[in-house]
């Protein structure tokens, strides 16, 4: 069956195939197998338990919070939750891996077979919402490694074990994506889900969310090509760029008659290229074996299925976690579109920005203005100002109620829309002052004195005979120019309805 998308492609055209391996640091106060605290940018080696430093004789003790986070994430991604999962050791020598192995879940992970639905804005105006699915192969619990700092001058390596043993969820996304934009959208959606769940803070620049991309190219219908793994991607923007660069690079290689090497490549954000990494891992044999110090991880469906004598506080009950799931981003977007009649692309903007939905809804509570009119203020004025100064919603100097008051002044005809924007600017600069105060202090109230407006309009008409002539000859659009001049004269305070009527009369 022909798919309209692939139909456009020439039959021999190479297309990209993208899968992702994502490491999400579990948002937990302590590590996966030890009681050491988890914190970003603490002094080196200040958050290290005996176990994290792999002192001989220490044993792993599983953190219940991390298990719950993985189950919650699995449920939100429509995974099957394995009632029994196992831990394994993955061996390799590296300076920031003190035990010489990582405890992971290779054979039987905690969650499998999920699906992530994400959306892209497509079409010419980029306002068409296209829903796509990517299969989540599995979610496994595993330990993070420490960090190595290479000092080339003194030719030494410094090790920081603060991160060693922090709980990770490794999510494997099947190669269901075809380009950087899709991968970026999928990761963004995952990031929103994790943040909504609170299972991962999702900050890519702090390494809480790390994405490696498996990229290959092939001709549709043919087997997948040789893939490369692209690492060192620390933002969603770079993810899209790195993948698109890599797809193009592989296509170029093949079209030149070359072959793609199975290798690990690093993305260099400065040059925008992917470069081969010194690859020791090509022949690495991880010598997996069962972790003998951790019994199988058993989860229970509901309280009724608990064996007698087992304390419900000591185990993880899937049903209980299911009941506690918060509203997920996709559900939230649908609700916003339905409840407020806003456009789908606006629902994306709202949900994408942490705290913006709450802000929007708080504004609506205290204004009679229609949601469809409020949305522009929130997604353009407010968000624009926030972005410009790199602030988050909660740092906004204008509170939802202050914005609501401003909008109310406009709605009730006290100020024009252009004045409202000026007042917004002033409120931004002088937090604490209300819209009403600013309007009164600066005399920005709407001018609706007919006599005054008549005289201003007359002045404009008199000084622009060409425009008046044009209007009289049928070019009605030119009236807008005159309206603009009147507003300029009144600093935007003139009642536009009145001005239009007056000007129409004077130019007829």
């Amino acid at each position: 069956k022909a798919n309209p998308e692939t139909e456009q492609l020439a039959p021999q055209q190479l297309v990209g195939v993208v899968g992702l391996e994502i490491h999400a640091q579990i948002n937990s106060s302590t590590k996966l197998f030890s009681g050491a605290p988890v914190r970003f940018s603490a002094p080196p080696n200040s958050l290290v338990s005996f176990f994290d430093a792999s002192l001989p004789g220490t044993l792993p003790v599983l953190n219940k919070r991390c298990v719950e986070a993985a189950v919650m994430t699995g449920l939100a991604l429509n995974c099957a939750i394995n009632r029994k999962s196992l831990f394994d050791r993955k061996h390799y020598f590296y300076a920031d891996l003190p035990a010489g192995y990582q405890i992971t879940q290779q054979r039987l992970p905690i969650a499998v077979d999920g699906v992530l639905t994400y959306s892209l804005l497509g079409g010419k105006k980029r306002n068409q919402v296209m829903r796509k699915n990517v299969t989540i192969k599995q979610i496994q619990l595993e330990q993070d490694s420490g960090k190595s700092l290479h000092d080339d001058v003194r030719s030494q390596t410094l090790i920081d074990l603060n991160r060693a043993g922090v709980g990770l969820m490794e999510l494997v996304m099947e190669p269901d994506m075809s380009c950087g934009e899709e991968a970026a959208a999928a990761v963004r959606e995952l990031q929103l889900i994790l943040q909504a769940l609170g299972t991962c803070q999702g900050n890519m620049s702090e390494g809480q969310l790390r994405v490696d991309a498996n990229v290959s190219v092939h001709r549709p219908g043919e087997p997948l090509g040789v893939r490369t793994e692209v690492k060192n991607i620390n933002s969603i923007r770079y993810l899209a760029r790195a993948i698109d660069y890599e797809i193009q690079r592989q296509i170029d290689v093949l079209q030149r008659g070359g072959t793609v090497q199975n290798e690990t490549r690093a993305y260099d954000s400065k040059s925008g290229e992917t470069l081969p990494m010194r690859d020791k891992e090509g022949l690495q044999d991880y010598r997996f074996m069962p972790e003998p110090n951790l019994p199988p991880l058993i989860l229970y469906e509901d309280n009724a299925s608990l064996p007698t004598g087992i304390d419900a506080c000591q185990v993880v009950v899937v049903q209980k976690i299911k009941e506690g799931l918060p509203e997920l981003p996709s559900v939230k977007r649908d609700r916003l579109v339905q409840t407020y009649g806003i456009l789908p692309e606006h629902s994306f903007t709202l949900v994408n920005e942490d705290g913006l939905v709450d802000y929007f809804e708080a504004v609506l509570k205290t204004t009679k203005k229609e949601p469809r009119k409020v949305i522009g203020w929130v997604t353009n004025e407010l968000l624009g100002h926030l972005k410009q100064e790199d602030m988050s919603v909660c740092q906004s100097p204008i509170s939802p109620s202050a914005l609501a008051e401003l909008l109310e002044l406009q709605e009730t005809g006290h100020i024009s829309s252009s004045v409202a924007k000026q007042v917004f600017q002033k409120m931004w600069r002088s937090p604490g002052k209300t819209a009403l105060q600013i309007t009164q202090e600066q005399d920005l109230g709407l001018v609706s004195d007919t006599a005054q407006l008549h005289s201003i309009c007359q002045k404009v008409v008199d000084s622009h005979p060409d425009e008046v002539h044009a209007i009289r000859s049928g070019n009605k659009k030119v009236l807008n120019k005159l309206m603009g001049l009147v507003q300029k004269e009144t600093k935007g305070r003139a009642d536009p309805v009145l001005v239009r009527a007056i000007l129409q009369k004077k130019t007829s």
Partner: protein
């Protein structure tokens, strides 16, 4: 004083025993028996301090329990806070852990007095206590009157091994420098030297004692072992050490709070199984005779004695070696010279430092096991070796389950093939051969996680101890020890007593209590 067992010491209280006096006597004895090489580290000052504290408690009439003021020794693979813990390896020669193993902490919490850390095979890999970085341990019985008189041996060249790998702990208990000692048992490392040194050696059910702080050999088989001079002592210590530990996820709750054993256990209602596969090649005539003798004792007392079959036992050793070496390869990966332990001077690159650190730090035995273990774990070999060995392990476990569910309460077997070998004979074979030979009777219980105990039964013609082993179903440690005590009460194994240190009063009392006395 030093010749009594722990329970007798407890009964002799209060007022009659001064913990500091006892501690001094034991420290003296450690000095006198230094040639045995039983201790790697003697914690003299600390021991005296602890003894003084115990003394004050006893004087105030508030002892912490039966172990308060009692000297004990710990195998040098259990972590001890601020006391170096070497595993008898150059790798950890100067390593001082910042914490106590749970079992050590529990003994200290009871007021027991730590005398020192005992010698062993490097990282517990061996069956002779001959392969450690601090030299071989010598068996005290090689210096006792019977061996000298009966063999006319020259103690300097004809000394005998303790067995291993917990040889230092066995020698410490046998030479009366400690009342109890902790060993570790992965394939027989507690029971084997216990048998060769004539002490009671208990390997509890897997998971009953915490492994937190025990530097591992094979995590899925390691159990802290208890070595004492009497079965009842082992029961007291087990009662103190057993139970759930939040730091070890493989521990299980204790089935009962066991303390003292019944004095008059009735064997009429029990069924003793004699596994026919334990008639192994190399089993000495004398050990076989002891095995028959004790089986007969049971029969005469009205117990049911039945021959049983454990058909997969023959595969135990080879299966053990695959699993053991694989875990060793994994467990030893952390010794890279970065965080702790030996670090090589060769540091031109991280990889070079790893390689030379590990080459310099480990002996041939450890390196050999790491190499073969990594081979077994390679992707292409994993199914063929590791998975297959796990399946065989399950079959061995099933054998035991089958026998125990058919009505057998306890299995009676030899602990070792023979009495202790002379060092120069023992070292004719390499560590691998010796480990395969020596663990043949003890190792299946580790595979299945079952409790087992070695009880000394007699002296051989050479004047060296012979022990027998009992194996019970999982968590039946109390039954196991009750049967063991029944044997102990009947075989009349001679107690070691130091005549030099025995007061005439003690001597008379001991004689009146019917002790045989062997002086060392």
């Amino acid at each position: 004083l030093t010749g009594r067992n722990l329970w007798q010491m407890h009964l002799l209280r209060p007022g009659r025993i001064s913990p500091t006096e006892l501690c001094r006597k034991c420290l003296n004895r450690i000095r006198k028996t230094q040639h045995l090489n039983a201790y790697i580290t003697v914690t003299e000052e600390r021991a005296l301090e602890q003894a003084q504290q115990a003394e004050r408690r006893l004087q105030r009439g508030v002892p912490k329990g039966p172990l308060d003021g009692i000297p004990f020794a710990v195998k040098d693979n259990f972590c001890t806070e601020n006391i170096r813990t070497t595993c008898a390896s150059r790798m950890l020669k100067d390593y001082t852990p910042p914490y106590n193993a749970t079992v050590v902490q529990k003994l200290l919490d009871q007021g027991a007095v730590l005398m020192g850390k005992t010698n062993m095979d490097e990282f517990a890999m061996g069956a002779g206590s001959t392969d450690g970085a601090f030299g071989a341990v010598k068996n005290p019985w090689g210096y006792a009157a019977p061996y000298g008189e009966r063999t006319r041996a020259d103690p300097d060249s004809d000394w005998v091994v303790t067995g291993g790998s917990s040889g230092g702990s066995a020698a410490a208990v046998a030479s009366l420098t400690s009342y109890l000692a902790l060993g570790s048992d992965t394939g027989g490392s507690t029971r084997n030297p216990g048998s060769l040194c004539g002490v009671v050696a208990l390997k509890p059910t897997y998971g009953l004692l915490s492994r937190h702080g025990l530097i591992p050999l094979v995590n899925s088989m390691d159990v802290p072992g208890i070595m004492t001079r009497s079965v009842n002592d082992a029961a007291i210590v087990l009662g103190i050490l057993q139970g759930l530990d939040v730091r070890d996820s493989t521990t299980v709750p204790a089935p009962s709070s066991l303390t003292e054993l019944p004095e008059d256990f009735d064997v009429k209602n029990i069924c003793v199984g004699i596994p026919k596969e334990y008639h192994a090649p190399g089993l000495s005539e004398e050990t076989l005779a002891q095995w028959s003798r004790v089986a007969d004792l049971f029969e005469e007392a009205g117990a049911r004695v039945e021959q049983v079959s454990l058909p997969h036992t023959q595969y135990s050793i080879v299966c053990y070696h695959v699993l053991c070496h694989a875990e060793v390869a994994s467990n030893m990966a952390r010794f890279d010279g970065l965080e702790y332990g030996h670090r090589s001077q060769m540091d031109s690159s991280t990889e070079v430092m790893y390689a030379s650190t590990r080459h310099e730090g480990f002996n041939d035995v450890v390196r050999g096991r790491i190499l073969s273990g990594n081979y077994f774990l390679l992707k292409r070999n994993y199914q063929h070796y590791f998975v297959k060995a796990q399946k065989v392990r399950r079959l061995i476990t099933n054998d035991f389950q089958h026998v125990f569910s058919s009505g057998v309460d306890v299995l009676l077997t030899p602990t070792t093939l023979t009495d202790a070998a002379r060092y120069r004979d023992f070292t004719q074979e390499d560590n691998r051969t010796r480990s395969a030979q020596e663990d043949v009777f003890t190792q299946p219980a580790n595979m299945a996680g079952l409790p087992a105990v070695s009880v000394p039964t007699a002296l051989s013609r050479r004047g060296l101890p012979i022990g027998l082993q009992l194996i019970a179903p999982a968590l039946q440690d109390q039954t196991l020890l009750s049967v063991a005590q029944w044997i102990e009460q009947r075989v009349g194994f001679p107690s070691i007593v130091s005549t030099q240190m025995l007061s005439s009063l003690d001597l008379l009392q001991s004689l009146s209590e019917g002790f045989h006395i062997i002086s060392i």
